[in-house]
């Protein structure tokens, strides 16, 4: 019986390692300039966790196989140094791994968060609200009009609360329900929430950032591949959370200019 259990453990461990090694359910293709270290970090984490998992399963199976039918006269041997030694060894092993992963991870993270966007990054604002995203482009003047929460009105489709009658900066602002960006151009994304916590997640862009009510957050990224991607909310935000999404169109500069012109005409 013990030997059967040991073999089963080995089989389960190997079977579950196969899809991970073969990248069966791997991440979507990376379309960002900053994604490589994130993917590397992911691979390293998977490799280290995978090796530790396989090693622990093999050791477990070995002990079950070896000691399932102990001979009566055999003396029980202890781990060298006793339980104390074992605990220290585990702490060093796990702590070292967590620390190493953390050091690499912080580097990848800091590359995105501690480096300011370049001066010619294109600003785009995103507002999350239950249960939709709305985007804003500053228009020809390059200035975003002030937001007046009291003017926010679904009835007038004024999702940002812009005072277009009096505020010259707001007059040429372009508010859209879809986000379009030119390919290979750095985007400076300015994020705020209208109500509760939300999240901006584009798997292909390797971007996932929470919206925190009351905080203006920003991100910068460059998309390198033309296509249409989904932006989803990954922070449970209410009854319509499952349907809180928008689309990101990565297009050529020419197509982007045309799109923006068309959107400006629709304001």
């Amino acid at each position: 019986m013990g030997k059967f259990v040991a073999v089963t453990i080995i089989v389960i461990a190997i079977l579950s390692a196969i899809p991970i090694l073969r990248h069966t359910w791997w991440m979507a293709e990376d379309i960002s300039t900053h994604g490589a270290p994130i993917d590397e970090q992911m691979s390293e984490t998977m490799a280290e966790a995978g090796i530790s998992f396989l090693a622990s399963q093999i050791i477990l199976a070995f002990f079950i196989w070896r000691f399932s039918n102990p001979r009566p006269a055999e003396k029980v041997k202890n781990f060298p140094g006793g339980a104390k030694g074992m605990v220290w060894a585990a702490i060093l092993l796990v702590g070292g791994e967590v620390l190493a992963l953390g050091v690499f991870g912080v580097k990848a993270w800091a590359n995105i968060y501690f480096t300011p966007p370049s001066a010619n990054a294109m600003p785009v604002q995103v507002q999350a609200g239950q249960f939709a995203f709305y985007f804003r482009y500053p228009g020809p003047d390059g200035m975003f009009g002030a937001i007046h929460p009291d003017l926010i009105s679904e009835a007038n489709q004024n999702f940002y609360g812009l005072d277009t009658d009096h505020d010259p900066d707001a007059k040429d602002d372009i508010v859209t329900a879809e986000m379009a960006i030119p390919v290979n151009r750095e985007i400076h994304l300015l994020m705020h929430s209208k109500d509760v916590g939300h999240s901006f997640f584009v798997p292909e862009l390797r971007v996932q950032q929470d919206f925190v009510p009351g905080l203006d957050l920003s991100l910068h990224f460059t998309a390198t591949k033309i296509g249409r991607y989904e932006i989803v909310c990954t922070q449970l935000c209410g009854l319509g959370h499952y349907n809180m999404k928008a689309y990101l169109s990565v297009v050529s500069q020419q197509d982007f200019d045309d799109w923006l012109k068309k959107e400006a005409a629709m304001q």
Partner: protein, 247 residues
């Protein structure tokens, strides 16, 4: 003992008769002999109605791809006729006229990520049906005034969910309705006592009332209310035209 039963039966019969009279009184009012007709106009240039971007909901975006839906705050014809204006009697109704409830159950449909109709005129306690004709979920979220006679509610209606029946308990002009999943979906329900109607695509309307002196109110979601006092005689339609000024 026997005489007691007799008294009880007589009292019950009288009660039934009394309710019967009250009830028939109401239905008599429905067939009123007076009439108020008129046309609603908009003076000045109608405001720009933004086209609506429904890209969040691919089904609806595709449905309206060739002809995008526009906002419906001000729906004016080329001749200046104004549609979707709620008309009702704000003063002069007798108790019976005010408390009569029409038996029709209008439908509040969610179709193509739009509210159809955009404005619904209802009587207090009149039932209406909420329908979802889309292959996507909607949530219907009316927001009556806080502290008013009606209470806010918010109900999800997934694809294929059966229609549900609701009514409002108090007068309110008007209750904004929204869908949180599709923030561009916005409509109004005007709840009043007595006869009410909406101006049609030619801007015209007809209100059937009993002869008497009334104040007619016209309500438009962006331009507010206008009133007119008039006297209705039997068999002679009275005209009440309203003109709203574009902002």
């Amino acid at each position: 003992m026997k005489s007691r039963y007799k008294i009880a039966v007589t009292v019950l019969a009288l009660l039934f008769l009394a309710f019967g009279f009250l009830y028939s009184g109401n239905s008599v009012n429905a067939a009123a002999e007076g009439k108020i007709t008129g046309t609603i106009k908009l003076s000045g240039t109608p405001p720009h109605m933004k086209p609506i971007d429904m890209s969040k909901e691919p089904y609806c975006a595709k449905l309206h791809a060739s002809d995008p839906v526009k906002m419906e705050n001000v729906v004016a014809g080329a001749d200046g006729s104004l549609r979707n204006v709620v008309l009702y009697i704000s003063e002069g109704l007798t108790g019976n006229e005010a408390s009569a409830v029409p038996s029709e159950t209008p439908t509040w449909d969610q179709k193509g990520c739009q509210y159809i109709p955009h404005v619904l005129a209802l009587d207090v306690n009149q039932h209406f049906k909420v329908v979802n004709s889309d292959p996507t979920s909607h949530n219907i979220h009316p927001m009556p005034k806080l502290g008013g006679p009606n209470h806010e509610w918010n109900k999800s209606q997934p694809t294929g969910a059966p229609p549900f029946d609701v009514s409002w308990t108090g007068e309110e002009v008007a209750i904004p309705i929204k869908c949180n999943i599709h923030p561009w979906m916005h409509g109004w329900m005007a709840v009043v006592k007595g006869p009410t109607t909406l101006s049609d695509d030619k801007g015209s309307f007809t209100l059937n009332v009993a002869p008497g002196t009334y104040t007619v109110t016209a309500w438009q979601e962006d331009y507010g209310t206008q009133t007119q006092k008039l006297t209705v005689a039997a068999g002679k339609p009275v005209t009440a035209d309203f003109t709203f000024k574009a902002k």
